[in-house]
């Protein structure tokens, strides 16, 4: 049983130096009853997962809720876990499933929100500021990033999910395909279409 204190404990292994197999081993140890292994998995993956989900939904509050939900599903599914793929593939499959369901369930709300936007660039009001290195970050860069966000948000959900896994999570075609339940060739095709769409949408910035 996980108690609140355990999740906040910083473990020495909680860095990205662990190998991929170590995640699966942590999961198996957690399955065997070592609750602290779940804490390690949360510590290792919570931030990248949060960023993935945030880029999908572009809402910080929702992203955090869905991140927690994804880890809750991992916790509750521990008895059924089998090492068939990398742990991250399984984790991102859960996260993609939750996120895509959320987007579908709230599609109408987002449409009505976008109609209410008062900004000239149509930027989502709940967007967070993005990290801008250097002193020259200003309106122009913010506008460019807003366009990137809108272009990504405009992709169909599965294409968006595939691009984000590929571009920001460093997942390869096989892993993305496993997460989205697609063949490798279908994943390549999906990514190709997504990147071509982005290139067309953002051509004036390229």
């Amino acid at each position: 049983m996980v108690v609140e204190g355990q999740l906040t404990r910083v473990m020495s292994a909680g860095t990205h130096t662990l190998s991929v197999d170590a995640d699966a081993q942590l999961m198996l140890r957690f399955q065997a009853g070592e609750a602290e292994c779940f804490d390690s998995l949360v510590l290792r993956h919570r931030k990248p997962l949060l960023h993935f989900i945030y880029r999908m939904v572009q809402d910080a509050g929702v992203a955090e809720e869905l991140t927690q939900e994804a880890f809750l599903r991992v916790f509750l599914s521990r008895e059924r876990y089998t090492v068939e793929a990398r742990f991250t593939t399984w984790l991102y499959r859960i996260a993609s499933h939750l996120t895509l369901n959320h987007i579908r369930d709230h599609r109408h709300e987002r449409r009505s929100e976008s109609l209410d936007q008062s900004g000239p660039d149509g930027e989502a009001p709940r967007d967070l500021p993005d990290r801008q290195p250097g002193a020259e970050s200003g309106m122009l860069k913010e506008e460019r990033l807003a366009r990137v966000r809108r272009a990504v948000a405009g992709l169909p959900e599965r294409q968006r999910s595939a691009v984000l896994m590929h571009k920001y999570q460093g997942m390869d075609y096989r892993e993305i395909g496993a997460a989205l339940r697609l063949s490798e060739s279908a994943t390549k095709s999906l990514l190709f279409r997504a990147y071509e769409t982005l290139r067309a949408e953002l051509s004036s910035l390229l």
Binding site: Q6, L7, R55, R131, L202
Partner: protein, 170 residues
């Protein structure tokens, strides 16, 4: 090599490794359109790289997750969840099946025992049951008529009593 094939191959290798492949490199070198696409792809990746959300986990993240887990576990500690877990346990599968069979048989037995009481009908089926209802109604009417007649007789017999009582009161 077709342009579309080259462009797909270019996308497959974000770091430009595909361009190192001789066939791809030769095509890009000789095709201005594909060379422009390759350059745009590289710039697009740079543009996408610049999107790094300044997003940190809230301080309540761990607490909220722990709370969710506790709620989910509490929800799963009822007798129904316990029964489900027990039935799902691989070790107890045979025992579970045996007990489930016994339970099913027990329920069937109860159902069989209760059936005559629920379906109790006079011999002859529904038509007889309807006739029986009418007969019962007639019997009730007869009994009521007898009661009314007897009541009248009783009234007649007891009629002088009030006078007697008044005399006694006096």
């Amino acid at each position: 090599m077709k342009c579309n094939t080259v462009r797909q191959a270019l996308w497959e290798n974000v770091g430009g490794e595909a361009e190192a492949q001789p066939a791809i490199r030769r095509h890009v070198a000789g095709c201005a359109a594909c060379a422009e696409v390759a350059a745009q792809q590289a710039r697009l990746h740079q543009l996408l790289d610049s999107w790094q959300p300044e997003l940190e986990l809230s301080p309540e993240f761990d607490l909220a997750l722990a709370r969710r887990i506790r709620v989910a576990e509490d929800r799963g500690t009822g007798w129904l969840a316990a029964a489900r877990r027990w039935l799902a346990a691989p070790v107890g599968w045979n025992a579970s099946m045996s007990l489930a069979s016994i339970g099913l048989l027990g329920m069937l037995g109860v159902a069989v025992l209760m059936r005559p009481a629920q379906d109790a009908r006079p011999v002859g089926g529904p038509a007889t049951a309807q006739a029986g209802t009418v007969v019962r109604d007639l019997q009730v009417l007869d009994r009521d008529r007898d009661l009314i007649e007897n009541f009248d007789l009783l009234s007649q017999e007891t009629a002088p009593e009030p006078a007697t009582r008044s005399e006694e009161n006096q």
